[in-house]
């Protein structure tokens, strides 16, 4: 492939030196630069104003914000902390990632290397449709259909695999960490599948043919020529999915039982997340309560920022790798 057309016009030197610039150029250049700066200002403002409104609430807090589990910022003596919420956010997102990634990679391979060519792009569109369903619809589907449905499989898991700590516990419910993670998995599957599909499609045909010419089966060809090439792309896709899962709000707000307890029993009536707590707690929040929610949002912002930056970093490295290999 040709190198991306980085638009270094050969023109500027000539146009700038010999002739005056057209009168419209200044304002237009100014406007487009200005738009970019506005965008930067918005990002800075997001950080700034979250901090500004979080600080008074954090000062009113009578407990330690990072380690406290309970969330009672509306009380006369506010007590609140991010502990249980952060735990729930991370656990549910990791579970979602664990469920979604293998399926997404399978879907991506299906579309890039298994499905009949004529159907492939149409089938890819079907998977993209999953991403187009609004999260509140997944929430509605989750509470009305998936929650009661999951009671059966959850009881089964508990009966036969209860010896695994994750599946242990006395009370088994539909509104559990597992159900929430499952909904999250469905929601992040399309993005992981779409990015993986793109990198698998870009796997060099030359190496695929080399593998086939050595007498590799289709799977062996994929293992030798496609997966090693696509691995960094899949990893960063998974990270982007993780970031999405952590920030997802409404669907899980409807499903989580909204407890403030740290428990690994994913079939039990436990579970909450920072984002879900913001949606559920905003209605009756007082001044301090809102500040507390904003503080928790700030933490969420920082976590997702780190995850996303890690993902981008991997993508960026991958480009260099591809260039080195070319």
């Amino acid at each position: 492939m040709a190198t991306p057309t980085r638009t270094t016009e050969s023109g500027p030197a000539l146009r700038r030196s010999a002739f005056r610039r057209s009168r419209g150029d200044g304002p237009f250049r100014f406007a487009s630069t200005g738009a970019g700066v506005v965008l930067l200002a918005i990002m800075a403002a997001i950080g700034l104003f979250l901090v500004v409104k979080a600080v008074p609430a954090l000062q009113a807090n009578t407990s330690h914000f990072l380690t406290e589990l309970t969330w009672q910022p509306n009380a006369t003596k506010p007590v609140f902390g991010i502990g249980a919420l952060a735990f729930g956010t991370v656990l549910s997102s990791l579970l979602a990632l664990l469920i979604a990634t293998p399926v997404a990679v399978g879907v991506a391979l299906f579309i890039s290397h298994y499905a009949p060519r004529r159907l492939a792009s149409a089938l890819g569109y079907v998977v993209d449709l999953l991403a187009a369903v609004p999260s509140v619809v997944y929430g509605l589907w989750g509470v009305t259909f998936l929650v009661p449905f999951m009671l059966g499989p959850s009881t089964f898991l508990n009966d036969y695999f209860g010896w695994i700590p994750l599946f242990s516990g006395e009370s088994i419910v539909g509104k559990s960490m597992l159900t929430a993670s499952l909904v999250l998995a469905i929601m992040i599957l399309p993005i992981i599948a779409a990015i993986s599909r793109e990198v698998f499609l870009q796997a060099p045909k030359m190496q695929e043919e080399a593998a086939l010419a050595l007498g590799a089966t289709r799977w062996e060809m994929i293992r030798t020529a496609v997966l090693p090439f696509g691995r960094p792309g899949v990893i960063s896709a998974a990270m982007l999915g993780l970031g999405r899962a952590m920030g997802e709000t409404i669907a899980v707000a409807l499903i989580f039982p909204a407890t403030f307890k740290i428990s690994f029993q994913i079939l039990g009536p436990y579970g909450n997340s920072i984002a879900a707590n913001i949606a559920n707690g905003f209605g009756e929040a007082t001044e301090v309560g809102r500040g507390a929610l904003i503080a928790s949002g700030l933490v969420l912002f920082l976590i997702t920022l780190l995850v996303n930056m890690a993902a981008r970093f991997i993508i960026a490295r991958r480009k260099e790798y591809a260039r080195a290999a070319a």
Binding site: T5, T7, G106, L254
Partner: protein, 294 residues
Amino acid sequence: MTVQTGIQPISATRRAKDRLVQALVYLAFALAVIPLVSVLWLVVKNGAGRFDMEFFTHSMRNIGARDAGGGAYHAIIGTLEQVLLASLIAVPIGLLTAVYLVEYGEGGRLSRIISFFVDVMTGVPSVVSGLFVLAFWILVLGMSFSGFAGALALSILMMPVVVRATEEMLRLVPRELREASYALGVPKWRTIVKVVLPTALPGIVTGVMLAVARVAGETAPLLLTVFVTDSINNDPFNGPQMGLPLYVFNQTILPTDVAVDRAWTGALTLILIVMLLNLVARLITWWRSPARRR
């Protein structure tokens, strides 16, 4: 050294592994489609019941959780206004930022910083954009909860999508086209406005529509910024307004069947709007550039 004679069939294990992986890959696709089918089926089945005239012409004013009837007129109006306002804010900023990145940035420091923060912005959780507008617009500036506040939050989510879509399209415009225009003595800005942007327009429109489709279904930012109302409020700048996703959320958490029925119909309407936007966006791409796709 073993000398082979003729074509040896490959080992059964290798064949079996190949078949197994093939089965797993097909299974993965089936697994991905099941939830989609389930969601769409239930939304259509449960949403059809209240998909009636009253739903599209009435608000929820004076209708309690137990009462049948009522509609989402106020929410649909709200969503349309909010999304329109959000686009009016996000599209110019996003478009111009992309123009800066492609045409003026020249890979300089500022353009790399902006590009980096566009990526960061893509990852901002929607609830955080709502919290930001709450903190800045409502709590610090003292403005009221309003449709416009919701539009602000939505525009933050739209901007990076518009920037990336536009940027990608602008980079596809061949350099020769720009140079042909320069060679005629057309200044750079007119080249961009008259030659580059029109060439990239279908792609940009597609990107904008996908961005609109994405934010039209957002609930969390609205929850924190437009507040909630059961009445019609046509003025997005004054007082609480409803939004369709928020309406679905609100009816879902009510404990009665009639409310949940309204939620399903709201969901059906929302999906129809979002899918329609998606479909139109894809049709534009497909219609304008059949060859560009592999």
